[in-house]
Symmetry: C2
Subunit: 183 residues, 2 copies
């Protein structure tokens, strides 16, 4: 069962970031139904280690970003959506540069995940960056954020205490910690 | 800066699961702009341990669920959206029962996360359940899934290898493993 599950559909909204379709779908048992689906181009996110991830006390860079959906600032890793034709790693490097002003000596792919597959096809590609080299930030007009550096252990503590509330950030930090410790 | 960031807005779509608004927003620097936002009632998800999470080889129950957004079956933990007025733990117990047919002796809160705060206010509340007692499943008409049991280490391996591609599932498994091992 692949894309031929789609019988037909209507685009109800074409937006700046997302599109909304209502599709008529054939389910695995042959029955039919309608599903709402948010089409998204996909995104990349990157856990930025200042030096090497295997340092004794590795340091990460987090961003405090104002999120209207949460009505407050959230701690996040640098991230953004894929431009047309852009490869996930390019996107991760671009977003890292735009949001922190840094380039990275090394970039390691962690995984790709569906953010919330019940209603959107958005996939996010997670990376870790090591060996940051500072430059200047180039943020978009509606991005409000500040950069904060902290030891990885502290960021992981914030995940456990619920102070990091963004899924991609929690997942990226936990996976990067697994890679560096070989778990 | 809280909800008064909203100047006004229009509801463009009222759906079965989601609603789409385009809101006029005042940003932290005082400037104004328009943002697309998917309103979602929130959801709960639960990592189901057959016995105790601290067993030597703990077993978890995963669900292979057909996801139209992914055009295939994904491995997931039991999850679903909050009914009106429902508390997150109630929802987790209900979804566990509906999707696996099991009740749980113990339920532990892990964390609450924004699934993808760039375009939706959806929050998911993650739990772990221990000591499952089997009964009968009660699935919704458009849910196509089968239950699979496996050792936690195998599920964690599948996260690392990219075979588990659902964010809440990966995050739930990693957090539950952290709780059981005291990390």
């Amino acid at each position: 069962m692949t894309d031929d599950a789609r019988i037909d559909g209507r685009r109800l909204y074409t937006g700046r970031v997302i599109n909304l379709d209502v599709d008529r779908v054939r389910f695995p048992d042959g029955s039919e139904g309608e599903l709402e689906i948010i089409r998204h181009p996909g995104a990349s996110a990157v856990v930025p280690f200042l030096g090497e991830a295997t340092a004794i006390t590795p340091q990460v860079m987090l961003i405090k970003q104002y999120r209207y959906a949460a009505s407050r600032y959230l701690y996040e890793i640098p991230a953004g959506r894929l431009d047309a034709g852009e490869r996930p790693e390019e996107c991760a490097r671009r977003e890292l540069l735009e949001e922190t002003g840094c380039t990275a000596a090394g970039m390691t792919f962690l995984t790709s995940m569906y953010t919330t597959p019940g209603f959107t096809d958005e996939r996010i590609h997670l990376f870790m960056a090591e060996g940051l080299v500072p430059g200047a930030t180039r943020r978009e007009a509606d991005e409000f954020m500040e950069v904060e550096m902290m030891p990885l252990w502290q960021a992981l503590e914030m995940v456990r205490r619920g102070e990091i509330e963004d899924s991609k950030t929690a997942l990226g930090l936990l996976l990067a910690d697994g890679v560096r410790t070989g778990r």
